[in-house]
């Protein structure tokens, strides 16, 4: 074989390998996560690039001008789709799901379809103008459609790059790295394309490398796959094994095909097949190993999470013990202190009013201590699950009583407490009066504690064969995150601790347990931090509740 034909075979071989590699990468990324739109887009991009690469090479090799011209048109056709998928990839990365907006479905995609269809008509590439010495196309007349082609392709690629830059800029810390790697690969590919496909032919009349266009895609494909691999989006070991095996088999095949005698060809192809078979076994074992390791990592991760949760729980418990012990000791120390002073005769020098004052302090402290002990007892009681003693209850009465008890607290803080009495009479509820009273007390007290300005509006109304108690405050509001945790034991958000440091973190926990035990529902609404909150408690009407009586479930009305 002479030098030129060796070169030609090398070209074909290298283009073939490149095309194959790009497709393999595409499939690997796809199979790693079939459901992810990012991975699927990458697959489409690689496949289209492969086809484009092949046609790009072939159109320089084919002797027939007509066929070559058609191939050139197909190259343009696939170039449009390449630009589209590059844009889509940069736009989506690294999302797994995507809801396509209207402009995408009704403007972009149709535009791409139309433009690519146009490339096959004379509107984009009109006709062949000049041929080279050996009959290859070197100049083509462009139709008016070339403008659309240029704008759309360049526009898509540039916009895609813009998306990539924007994502890099907006990403923080860890998330930046894969994006920067992709940018590096993209830049390399771009530089290669610009140098070899544009500058060299245009300014140095060297069109030698244009057929190898596909190879210039490699940096982009490699770096992107590396980025996805390194940041746990793919597995390097598996890919590496697959690539090595594939290349080995390819080389053997090519060598076989290029051999002299038929015997040699058959032998070498068989050998390639054997190597391929062994390779597949190897890949399978690597896959298994990778899967085992991933499972181990997953279990480790779960263990770490469980540990974290346990630590958090212990921390909360420790914090709670600190608060609880301080809460209990404060009124207790006041009582001991004052009583010891009285015993020592210290109050003898005080006036009657001053003595009364100190006695009041003793009493108040004792009552405060009682309140805290009650809270703790309630919490411990409801924790295991409660057995309410159900009787027919007037919710209205309990709410009025709670409001009367807590109104002084509102007055002290300068908050309003509006109560909208129910318009019609409310159905009675089957409830344990003591427990239910606790629910209203806790909620109304909370509203006061966590509101600094404005006040609270309470409504009571029948709803869905039951009664709803609604309390709306203009207080610190509740964030989405806080909403999820509020009803847990000892749960206190950072913000709550600032406004009301002495809270036990048990109030809402107790409320929810009681409401649940009564067959009711509790719901929280808040526009967000600082925007107030609304709590709604729904309790079923008396007739609707099955009452468990000596292991017999009867419906009492």
């Amino acid at each position: 074989m002479d030098f030129n034909s060796i070169l030609k075979n090398l070209d074909l071989f290298s283009v073939g390998v490149v095309v194959y590699i790009i497709s393999i990468f595409g499939f690997i990324v796809f199979y790693n996560n079939k459901k992810s739109v990012t991975n699927r887009t990458f697959l489409f991009f690689s496949l289209i690039t492969s086809v484009w690469g092949l046609f790009n090479y072939l159109h320089y090799q084919i002797d027939s001008v007509k066929l070559s011209f058609w191939l050139l048109k197909l190259v343009m056709f696939f170039a449009v789709w390449q630009a589209f998928f590059i844009f889509k990839f940069f736009y989506l990365f690294p999302k797994e799901e995507f809801h396509y907006p209207k402009w995408y479905r009704f403007i972009l995609v149709p535009a791409v379809i139309i433009t690519s269809a146009l490339t096959l008509t004379p509107l984009v590439l009109n006709k062949v103008l000049k041929l080279s010495a050996d009959g290859k196309i070197i100049e083509v007349a462009n139709g008016p459609g070339i403008v659309l082609f240029g704008l759309l392709s360049v526009g898509l690629v540039l916009t895609g790059l813009l998306m990539l830059f924007k994502n890099i800029f907006q990403a923080k810390g860890e998330k930046r790295k894969p994006l920067r790697t992709i940018l590096l690969g993209t830049s390399l590919t771009f530089s290669l394309i610009i140098t070899f496909n544009f500058i060299l032919p245009a300014f140095f009349a060297n069109a030698r490398f244009i057929p190898l266009g596909a190879a210039f895609m490699l940096p982009f494909v490699f770096f992107t796959s590396y980025a996805m691999a390194k940041h746990h989006l793919l597995n390097v070991k598996l890919i590496a094994t697959e690539i090595v095996v594939t290349i080995l088999v390819l080389i053997l095949l090519f060598e076989g095909v290029a051999s002299g005698s038929v015997n040699q060809v058959m032998f070498k192809i068989l050998f390639a097949g054997l190597v391929g078979g062994l390779g597949i076994l190897l890949i399978k074992s690597v896959l298994k190993e990778v899967q085992l390791r991933e499972r181990e990592e997953h279990l480790n991760h779960q263990l770490a999470q469980a540990n974290e949760q346990l630590k958090e729980l212990l921390q909360m418990k420790s914090e709670f013990l600190d608060i609880a012990s301080h809460q209990l000791r404060t009124p207790l120390s006041a009582m001991i202190g004052l009583l010891s002073m009285q015993y020592d005769g210290d109050f003898g020098t005080l006036s009657k009013t001053e003595q009364k004052e100190q006695q009041k302090n003793m009493l108040v402290s004792a009552e405060r201590l009682r309140g805290i002990v009650n809270d703790l007892m309630d919490a411990m009681e409801v924790e295991g699950g409660i057995k309410p003693k159900l009787t027919k209850t007037d919710v209205e009465k309990l709410v009025s009583e709670a409001i009367n008890t807590l109104k002084p607290n509102y007055d002290k803080k300068g908050l309003y407490l509006n109560y909208e009495k129910p318009a019609a009479s409310l159905p009675q509820v089957s409830a344990d009066k003591t427990f239910l009273a606790q629910v209203f007390m806790n909620l109304i007290d909370n509203a006061c504690q966590y509101t600094e300005q404005g006040g609270v509006a309470i409504k009571l109304f029948p709803e869905q064969n039951g009664v709803t108690f609604e309390i709306k405050d203009s207080g610190m509001g509740i964030s989405e995150k806080e909403k999820k945790r509020m009803f847990g034991k000892f749960e206190r958000s950072q913000r709550a601790k600032l406004i009301h440091p002495d809270g036990s973190g048990l109030g809402l926990f107790i409320v929810k347990k009681i409401v649940d035990a009564h067959g009711g529902k509790i719901e929280t609404q808040s526009a967000g931090e600082g925007q107030g909150a609304t709590f709604k408690v729904w309790l079923p009407a008396a007739a609707a509740i099955p009452v468990i009586d000596n292991n017999l479930i009867t419906i009492k009305s």
Partner: protein, 133 residues
């Protein structure tokens, strides 16, 4: 120094406690200045440079007491003022933490009667040098 001539500062937010300690110290002839918030407490320390400070650990926003202690001891102008932690928090860990931050002592309110507190403070004041006038 003569305890009756000392300037004492109590940083405490519970009104009942304030009344009780101020009364007790007054009966012993000791005048006590009171600050009810962390901010007020720090200001008064810097302004008045009291001879001794009684500091509660749980003030309006949580555990500000330790912060105040640290800042007082870090500031060369106030570092020599003896600060007693007068609190109801659990002793475990907090006594040591206070000691490391330079507190003079830790008095547990619930475990010490008011006259015991007065004894400790008086003893400390008497051990201090007389004031230069």
């Amino acid at each position: 120094m003569d305890p009756k001539k000392a300037v004492l500062l109590l940083i405490e937010d519970e009104p009942i406690n304030i009344q009780m300690y101020v009364l007790k110290f007054k009966l012993e002839g000791l005048e006590m200045i009171v600050a009810q918030t962390a901010a007020e407490g720090e200001n008064k320390i810097n302004e008045l440079k009291p001879d001794l400070v009684l500091l509660d650990l749980r003030l309006d926003n949580g555990n500000d007491g330790f912060e105040i202690l640290r800042r007082v001891k870090d500031n060369p102008a106030t570092a020599s003022i003896p600060v007693y932690l007068l609190s109801n928090v659990r002793e475990k860990g907090n006594i040591e933490r206070g000691r490391q931050l330079g507190a003079e002592g830790f008095i547990s309110k619930v475990n010490s009667k008011p006259n015991e507190v007065v004894e400790i403070i008086k003893a400390k004041l008497e051990s201090l040098p007389d004031k230069q006038h």
